[in-house]
Symmetry: C2
Subunit: 228 residues, 2 copies
């Protein structure tokens, strides 16, 4: 967590967030603050509560995990503020997104160009996700997969695996990190061919190396190109 994010949470009159994320920061929330925590799928409701409270002149912190601007709440809050024509200042506090938290744990797989793709097709049509996977694989981007699968949704990762295997060697290093940057973080370094044998859930970030990514002393490294 950044120092700036910590200060924003500590000084908030109202904290709003998905319940899992609120529980992660419980220890730094001011006991006098109002807390609105909610369930997955109720993001619009949470943005509306936040804007309503801000209009009451409260200092509100809307929390996301990682960086609020990467598949997080930042955009939704700005959209609700605009829709409500609410005259409240909004500051987006950046954070450490799962891509770079997972990368740090694995070694240095992102030291070159990379693409970040969510496999959740709830808000993005699957054919667009598939196209992005295909072109990113063809153009040798390192690829970071967010929301790779959940209990009821195994198909997207299996499809992504097929697309990636068409363009990458089966031995391409792949890193699988659960709970990146959180307590209980677990990292596995494997090869693309074994990706579907790994334990993968919604709290997992998958990093697929490009053609130059190597395993160096047990760490996943994409060389930047310096001569050594």
């Amino acid at each position: 967590m950044t120092q700036e994010a910590r200060r924003a949470i500590e000084s908030a009159d109202v904290v709003v967030g998905y319940k899992t994320y609120v529980s992660l920061i419980q220890s730094i929330i001011n006991p006098k603050s109002e807390v609105f925590s909610g369930v997955m799928g109720k993001e619009v409701d949470r943005a509306e509560v936040a804007v309503k409270k801000a209009l009451e002149n409260k200092h509100v912190a809307v929390v996301s995990s990682g960086d609020p601007g990467v598949y997080g709440m930042a955009g939704l809050v700005l959209e609700v503020v605009a829709r409500e024509k609410a005259n409240v200042p909004v500051e987006v506090v950046p954070g450490v997104t799962a891509a770079t938290a997972a990368a740090a744990r694995l070694g240095a797989p992102l030291v070159t160009d990379f693409a970040v793709i969510s496999l959740s097709d709830i808000l993005t049509p699957w054919n667009l996700i598939e196209k992005r996977l295909k072109v990113a694989a063809e153009a040798d981007f390192v690829i970071v997969l967010y929301n790779p699968q959940s209990q009821g949704r195994k198909e997207p990762l299996a499809k992504a695996y097929e697309i990636l295997l068409k363009n990458r060697s089966p031995s391409t290093p792949v890193g699988v990190v659960r709970q990146a940057g959180r307590k209980g973080e677990e990292a596995t370094l494997t090869a693309l061919k074994d990706l579907l044998n790994c334990e993968v859930d919604m709290a997992t970030t998958v990093i697929v190396g490009n053609s130059t990514t190597r395993v160096v002393d047990g760490r996943m490294v994409t060389p930047r190109g310096y001569e050594l």
Copy 2:
């Protein structure tokens, strides 16, 4: 800066980094620490000094700006450790990369899939950079450009502009942020057609919206797809 990065720097016996970055963190370096700062282009030398000092049982912090795993020093340090067969533990501390720091300042342009591409062709062949720009533009990724240009190197941004204009509307929102996350940060919101009129240097991050990115109350927002 994250709390973890701050602790790592404060507790280091030796701090190694590019001189501009070392000067940015001067106030938190322990006055008793040894400092090795150096110039651009001498990255391998700095990694070697860091490994040498670690082998003397010093606690060494190698600093990058942003996230050390995104075009930073993390990979190079791991490679030098391996080459030297140095038995020293290396921990990569993730940070806030320029992409998300710039995005936060602009609004929320990265709330969907995005590609990060450096326009520096010192370590990556230009034809590969061009291919990545082309496919990322075609597959409607939001695109983040690092190292867009320097005084002696205006051509890459001009070429990128041509490639982007073939696939995106001239009115596509584009954000240009200098010194993202640092003192003196400056953000400009413009349209793709006007990109080449902006002041852009090596310390600038450029974010090019996708087909859905809009300007909402003066902020750059890529809708995640929630129904409002």
